[in-house]
């Protein structure tokens, strides 16, 4: 396989050999280190293959042995190129193709978000668009480390985030949780900060310097456990400062505002079973649509499935095919009684509480009141919960120093 590739690249010739002393011709070729292959006997003459260089060296032997040589076929890349040397457009197209593939591979064409739970993919993408990261942006302009840091900062309930560029695809792995995810520990030095304003109910420090105590009131963004460790000697003078990845559990009492409002009458959808399927091809910003007409008097639900085209597994192209399904439905107006509305409001509230519990929050107090009047139902109130408020953040040096100074002042005053 490899040998035939080298032969193709170097170019070779199929020869027809006639004469009286052909065996001598072969022997002399061997002595001159000319490789002959596939030598076949054809009664009156012989056929064999020889490399382009071997053919040039052969001339002397041909004269010496008085044989007659005819070139039957020229194979290989040099002959192919020579043959097509006038096809400028072909060569141009070939190079253009290479350049095109190369330039297309310089951009991010697809952004994937994995692990979202309460945030939607669209929400994350919209956020990234604000940060100027969208499909079609240059790969070198995407700073994964900075994006990770920003997302951790701006999304309260994102405990862990990792961005990676793989081919032309940007993958964002999220871990949404109210708990600081200790299973995915940061290896770099970091602080643990408050995710929201709260009153601390318990703090357990595994690594780092704790800056708050039980019962303290903290604001959003305050440092709870610092990643800086100061070591003091007996005279209370600082010996050295080290950086660690702060680790620990911090729980606090926080408040959720709950508000829900709905009317007694509403519309109910009833699907008729009629479906219209359309396909759209999207290239860059251009759309090509196949449009089956829909009845203007009817109402439709739109359902779309999008599939992005790609080469291999990683090279995503700026083109996609979309399948749009339209389902028609009929509207029906319904009105609830007072009891039904109360029941509904309770169900909604329970669903919200269930959602909180799933995140690992324990509910302490529930002050939600449900009121029904004039065909309207409203539920309003505060829910007080105990939850983890820890969040990983890069080390904030000034916060630690401030709090340590305060501490020292307090100590000296005490003395």
């Amino acid at each position: 396989m490899l040998i035939s590739l080298f032969r193709y690249l170097g170019g070779y010739i199929k020869l027809k050999i006639e004469g009286n002393a052909i065996e001598r011709f072969f022997t002399l070729c061997g002595k001159k280190d000319i490789l002959l292959w596939n030598i076949t006997y054809k009664k009156d003459y012989y056929e064999c293959f020889v490399s382009m260089r071997g053919f040039e060296e052969m001339e002397a032997i041909v004269e010496k042995t008085n044989t007659k040589i005819t070139v039957l076929e020229k194979c290989g890349l040099p002959f192919f190129l020579h043959c097509h040397r006038k096809r400028k457009v072909f060569v141009l197209g070939f190079f253009l193709c290479i350049i095109l593939v190369y330039t297309l591979s310089l951009f991010v064409w697809d952004i994937e978000v994995i692990g979202t739970y309460s945030h939607t993919k669209e929400e994350i993408l919209k956020y990234m668009r604000q940060k100027n990261i969208l499909s079609g942006v240059l790969k070198k302009d995407v700073n994964c480390a900075k994006l990770e840091e920003d997302m951790r900062e701006d999304f309260d309930d994102v405990a862990w985030v990792s961005c990676e560029l793989d081919g032309t695809r940007l993958t964002v792995h999220l871990k949404e949780s109210l708990q600081t995810d200790t299973s995915k520990k940061e290896k770099k030095p970091c602080d643990i900060s408050a995710r929201k304003s709260a009153t601390i109910t318990s703090i357990v420090t595994r690594e780092g310097t704790p800056l708050v105590q039980k019962g303290d009131k903290v604001k959003k963004g305050d440092t709870l456990i610092s990643g800086l460790i100061y070591i003091y000697d007996d005279a209370n003078e600082m010996l050295e400062a080290g950086k660690v990845a702060a680790d620990g559990d911090v729980y606090g009492k926080t408040t959720y505002e709950y508000e829900d409002c709905f009317e007694s009458s509403y519309y109910e959808k009833k699907y008729t079973g009629e479906e219209i399927i359309n396909y759209t091809i999207q290239i860059g910003e251009y759309h090509i649509k196949s449009w089956k007409k829909m009845d203007k008097n009817k109402k439709y639900d739109t359902l779309s499935e999008k599939k992005q085209l790609k080469i291999g597994t990683n090279l995503y192209l700026p083109a996609s095919i979309e399948k749009i399904t339209l389902r028609s439905y009929e509207q029906k107006r319904k009105t609830d009684t007072k009891a039904e509305m109360e029941e509904k409001a309770k169900m909604r509230l329970n669903k919200f509480l269930e959602g909180l519990k799933k995140k690992g929050v324990s509910i302490l107090e529930n002050h939600v009141r449900i009121e029904v009047n004039e065909g309207k139902c409203s539920a309003k109130g505060k829910i007080i919960v105990n939850e983890s408020i820890a969040k990983i953040r890069t080390i904030n040096k000034s916060a630690v120093e401030d709090s340590l100074k305060e501490k020292q002042q307090k100590d000296s005053e005490g003395q």
Binding site: E23, F26, T27, G30, K31, D33, L35, L36, W37, I39
Partner: protein
């Protein structure tokens, strides 16, 4: 001179020296009856699709068969493909005649 050479030839076997290096003996690697790789030869004496005669230093190697073909041919080695029936040595006639 000839006697001296004879002496070395006889001794070479106990000394475990490969004959092909000392005396330039033909080396054959035959795989089944379809392939034969030959080394240490001087040249080709005859080549048709039924007979291939190869000149060694001391003997002539004759391969008989049908549909014989030389896959490659260089100064060091060559490979014969096809249906091989017999492989014989001719030491008496140093000069091969058709």
């Amino acid at each position: 001179m000839r006697r001296k050479k004879q002496k070395i030839e006889n001794k070479s076997v106990p000394m475990n020296v490969p004959e092909d290096i000392v005396f330039g003996a033909l080396v054959l690697l035959v795989t089944g009856n379809k392939e034969a790789e030959i080394q240490n030869y001087r040249g080709i004496l005859e080549y048709t699709d039924e007979v291939i005669a190869i000149q060694g230093k001391k003997q002539v190697l004759i391969i008989r068969g049908s549909n014989l073909l030389i896959e490659y041919f260089t100064n060091e080695s060559m490979k014969v493909m096809g249906q091989i029936d017999t492989i014989e040595y001719d030491t008496k006639k140093m000069r091969w005649k058709r």
